[in-house]
């Protein structure tokens, strides 16, 4: 058996050269999805371009009104970053419940979004934030708004020859609260049966702006627009929260698979949205 070619570039330019030379090669970040795909024989590898030694792809930078996150930043770094915790608390919360500690120290945010699992932990927070996924090829840079990057299960807006470079995210205005939660079969490491994220800006009890993202209940992490419409401009109340949770449960588009039935996933979305809105509303009112 022929061993695959293994390349370990130290700059993004070098990596792009290699990718031009070996277009069939697999880009390797933490490898935590790739190893599983290899084991399940869903992937054959002819060459590997290991991105882990490219320092320019691994950073978290506070740029005033924006935060930039390098694609090779690990989930553990996101979970513990003071900048992320301050600006996008829900992204840090999502990172904290992704896989296990061991996996988080290897897994990268770039890998998480390129894998584009409907249940991906970082998906919901990212689609609720204004910002771009920046990809680079020999032909230059391309910016894809975060809410347009995911295209389907395992599919994202990434063309051959492109490497995800960074994620730039606009900070939320003052007073915006965020929350992320996942529901899973067991409390120990497990893939989400459903997950949800919420951004809420209250004026007293009035909902000035809400953004709700739902995961594992559609081909891609989805924005719950109907639910948001129920809430925007309204005064928060138990009845309103109930109506919003029901709307979310009916507007999501889950499937039945061996992990859960579509109906049960709707029930989980109802529970998640109800709890998240209640939590943010009660916290915001204080």
């Amino acid at each position: 058996m022929q061993d695959p070619i293994y390349l370990k570039p130290e700059t993004l330019d070098r990596a792009l050269d290699y990718l031009t030379e070996y277009p069939q090669a697999t880009l390797w970040a933490g490898g935590t999805d790739l190893i599983v795909h290899l084991e399940h024989k869903k992937l054959k590898v002819s060459g590997i371009i290991d991105l882990t030694s490219i320092p320019e792809l691994r950073f978290i930078e506070d740029c005033g009104d924006k935060v930039r996150i390098g694609a090779l930043t690990t989930i553990y770094e996101i979970q513990t970053s003071p900048v992320i915790k301050k600006e996008f608390a829900f992204l840090a919360q999502a990172a904290l419940v992704l896989a296990s500690w061991q996996i988080r120290t290897l897994a990268t945010i770039g890998g998480n979004i390129v894998t584009a699992a409907p249940s991906a932990e970082t998906g919901c927070p990212l689609i609720l934030l204004d910002g771009n996924i920046i990809v680079q090829s020999k032909n230059g840079e391309r910016k894809i708004p975060t809410n347009q990057f995911f295209k389907g299960p395992g599919k994202c807006d990434l063309a051959p020859g492109e490497i995800v470079k960074e994620i730039e995210l606009e900070k939320l205005p003052h007073g915006y609260q965020t929350i992320y939660q996942k529901e899973r079969l067991r409390r120990s490491m497990d893939i989400a049966l459903a997950n949800a994220a919420c951004v809420l800006n209250l004026d007293g009890d009035k909902c000035q702006e809400v953004r709700i993202g739902l995961g594992a209940v559609a081909p891609v992490p989805m924005r719950a627009v109907k639910t948001e419409a129920v809430l925007n401009g309204q005064v928060m109340s138990d009845e309103l929260v109930e109506k919003a949770a029901q709307t979310a449960a009916s507007e999501c588009k889950p499937i039945t698979d061996i992990r859960a039935t579509a109906d049960y996933r709707r029930d989980l979305i109802y529970a998640l949205v109800k709890r998240q809105l209640t939590a943010l509303w009660k916290a915001g009112a204080e």
């Binding site: 599983v36 079969l185 120990s188 992990r259 859960a260 039935t261 049960y264 529970a271 109800k274």
Partner: protein, 766 residues
């Protein structure tokens, strides 16, 4: 812990043997081993549940560079064999047809795993699909596809027996309860998948390194399958990554042997986790229809059970498991009148086998749910109905089982008291709490499993430096059997614990033992160790007596020093006596060869009447659960487990067994389920087959109800299987208690709980 009652070594939590090797990574498991010239084997498994094999063309695979051999049924003696004499329905590779998805069709040996795997894709098999049957009851119906020609009705075994007068029993009942139950198919989830390393020796001889719970019995079965004599197989059991009942006979060991013979080189084969799920030995799922009669005070007057178990397409130990499910619970409670009709059917699914609890775990789920259902109808508390029926010491049950020590009532009282004293915490909003109880029993060394055999033996060698080596034929699969045997040997010999080593099990030297199953190791195996020690001690003391000029029976020993009881300063060390003996007997060292048998006749195969075990074990568990009313998620928040396992030999290991059993049972109660569709295991990995992790474990309290079992070594009995038996019913009873809804099927998943909550709320509205 009670104090030491004059023991030196018994009752001490010495570190487990092998712990150092494991902690430092030095322990060699089969997957770690590598021999010079070794090849790697891979199995081609059937993608069809039932199909005729029209042709197998191996030429392309054989032509692949690096491939050394491809083996099929033609490379084997083609004889029928099997773990159970009553149902010899195995071949090493599929002969003429495949019977389940995962059936062994061919195997490849190559210079590396990747080549072997690539070769699998080049084997061309022409199949002609046959109608298949997957449901255990469907299989018994007229006109169902026949899976094994010798069993045209697809009934692998059946049992019909009873004791007492069932009709009279029902006639005197104040309440009759009829219910149906289902215990599902689950996987043992050991760390090390099934594997083998086989080296061909001169002629037809083989050396096999295999992780197996029943090395010696398997050797007989394997010899028959390979057409050689048992002594032609040297079987070594190295470090073993768990078993929980699964690691009995398996075709991967034999396929590996066939490849080794064919290539003339050592071959190693390891199941991938997917293969292990698809073709391991999962638990026998059982459907129950039960009718029981009770008096107002809860006394059971009659019990009728109808059960059907799924054997899969060929027989591992299904018949024995089904039979156990029929009546072992009759030693948990005093049922005066019992009758059972039990069936085990062939289906085109993975063969099922032993899993901690061996049929009793299934029936304990059923009976402990039944007890709660009856108690509710009678207005009794769960402990009340259990206590009026509970087994008591020195009682002979309707099947002739002579229960000696029995701490069942004490176990019930102990968990109740502990649970009552729990810190009362506020129930969080949106949550429901419930508490549930379940009792258990088990044998400790089931007899008549391998009908011509009963008991256990050991060889004890005392070398010229006074160090002791214990040779036994049982099995340490990680549970700590070797540690317990070393403690028993040190105690019996009066030796220093650190001077005792336990030899790796190797058929070239170890005595013929039956191995680890039926919670027999400590009780039966331990008695075998004592017998060997007694024989060695006799020689040792005779030699020491001659050296000291004192009668041997005037001597005693402690901490490896032999002394005259009257004047203890007159003494010799084990090493002084050992050296003297060895050098005066031309190198022959002190060897004690002893055995233990219960002496009772074996139970009657037809009526099942007869004392089945030298000792019986009991326990009671309680679980407290908290249920999320929006998601149905269950958190087990508190757990109490009391066990009568006789005198604890090693409290830490005993506690470890109990806590491990709780974890294993928790998974079974709440999530674990092999999802099998049209014969295919859909969740064949740990991504979608979830076992509990540390975060899912409850706060656990373990309580030892110490009895002094006269038939056990130093009063000890076993634990292994008893530890899982009551867990699923205790947790499910707690869930039912919280919700006021009955669940009679495993597992009780969050989705099922939420559905039940919704209908319950609807009823409340109406």
């Amino acid at each position: 812990m009670a104090e030491n009652k004059g023991f030196n070594c018994i009752g001490k939590s010495v570190a487990a043997s092998g712990a150092w090797e494991k902690a430092t990574g030095r322990a060699q498991y089969v997957p770690d081993m590598k021999l010079p010239g070794m090849l790697y084997g891979k199995m081609l498994r059937s993608p069809y549940a039932h199909a005729r094999i029209v042709n197998i063309d191996t030429s392309k695979a054989e032509a692949l560079e690096g491939v050394k051999a491809v083996a099929t049924i033609k490379d084997t003696p083609q004889v029928n064999f099997g773990p159970m004499g009553t149902n010899e329905d195995w071949y090493i590779f599929a002969k003429d047809k495949v019977r389940f998805i995962g059936d062994e069709v061919a195997a490849v040996a190559a210079i590396d795993e990747a080549t072997a795997e690539a070769a699998l894709d080049l084997i061309e098999v022409t199949y002609e699909e046959l109608p298949a049957v997957f449901d255990m009851e469907e299989a018994m119906k007229e006109g169902s596809p026949v899976i094994n020609e010798k069993w045209p009705d697809n009934i692998a075994s059946q049992k019909h027996f009873g004791q007492g007068d069932i009709e009279a029993g029902f006639a005197e009942a104040d309440l009759i309860v009829e219910e149906e139950f289902y215990t599902n198919e689950v996987y043992q989830s050991y760390m090390e998948t099934m594997c083998a390393l086989v080296r061909p020796e001169k002629g037809s001889r083989l050396t096999m390194w295999v992780p197996i719970q029943i090395a010696n019995k398997a050797r007989l079965v394997y010899a028959k399958a390979l057409g050689i004599s048992p002594e032609d197989i040297r079987l070594i059991k190295p470090f073993m990554g768990g078993g929980f009942g699964a690691k009995f006979e398996t075709n991967i060991h034999l396929a590996c042997a066939v490849l080794a013979r064919k290539t003339g080189r050592p071959v190693k084969m390891i199941n991938s986790r997917h293969e292990d799920f698809a073709a391991g030995n999962p638990r026998v799922p059982i459907k129950y229809r039960v009718k029981m009669g009770f008096k107002k005070d809860g006394t059971c007057t009659a019990k009728y059970m109808h059960l059907v178990g799924n054997n899969g397409c060929r027989t591992v130990y299904g018949p024995a498991i089904m039979s156990t499910a029929c009546y072992r619970i009759d030693a948990l409670y005093k049922f005066p009148n019992v009758k059972v009709d039990g069936y085990l059917t062939y289906t085109n699914t993975v063969p099922t086998g032993c899993f901690r609890g061996f049929g009793n775990a299934q029936s304990i789920f059923m009976i402990e749910r039944m007890m709660d259902i009856a108690a509710e109808k009678l207005g009794l508390r769960p402990e009340e109905i259990r206590k009026v029926n509970a087994m008591t010491p020195n009682f002979t049950n309707p099947h002739g089982w002579r229960v000696g020590t029995c701490g069942l009532t004490e176990s019930i009282d102990a968990v109740l008291e502990a649970a009552q004293n729990r810190p009362k915490t506020e129930v969080s909003p949106g949550k429901l709490r419930g508490i549930g109880m379940a009792c258990c029993n088990h044998v400790s060394g089931n007899r008549g499993f391998f009908p011509t055999f009963d008991g256990s033996s050991s060889l004890i060698r005392i070398a010229e430096d006074g160090k002791i080596t214990v040779f036994h034929g049982e099995c340490d699969m990680g549970q700590g059997q070797d540690t317990v045997f070393a403690q028993i040997a040190a105690e019996e010999l009066g030796a220093k614990f650190s001077d005792v080593r336990v030899a790796e099990q190797d058929s070239q030297i170890s005595p013929w033992g039956l191995g680890s199953y039926a919670t027999r190791g400590t009780t039966v195996g331990g008695n075998g160790i004592i017998a060997g020690c007694k024989a060695a001690k006799k020689i040792l003391f005779e030699e020491a007596g001659a050296m000291l000029g004192v009668d041997a029976d005037q001597l005693d020993s402690r901490e490896s020093i032999i002394f005259w009881k009257r004047r203890p300063e007159k003494s010799l060390t084990f090493s002084e006596v050992g050296a003297h003996y060895v050098f005066n007997h031309a190198g022959s060292c002190i060897i004690g060869n002893g055995y233990y048998r219960t002496g009772d006749p074996l139970p009657d195969p037809k009526t099942s009447y007869g004392n089945v075990s030298p000792a019986y074990i009991f326990g009671c568990h309680m679980a407290e659960v908290e249920i999320d009313t929006l998601t149905g998620h269950v958190d087990v928040v508190n757990y109490w487990a009391a066990h009568d396992s006789g005198r604890p030999i090693n409290p830490t290991l005993l506690r470890g067994q109990i806590e491990g059993g709780i974890g294993m049972g928790l998974g079974w109660a709440l999530w674990e389920d092999m999802i099998i569709k049209d014969g295919k295991v859909l969740n064949d990995g740990f991504l979608d087959y979830r076992i509990p992790g540390t975060v899912d474990m409850p706060r656990m309290t373990t309580i030892f109800i110490e009895t002094d079992e006269p038939n056990g070594p130093f009063g000890a009995k076993g634990i292994g299987e008893a530890a899982i038996n009551p867990v699923a019913p205790a947790i499910v009873n707690a869930v039912c208690n919280a919700l006021g809804v009955h669940f009679n099927e495993l597992p009780v998943t969050p989705a099922r709980i939420l559905a039940a909550l919704k209908t319950r709320n609807k009823h409340q509205v109406i």
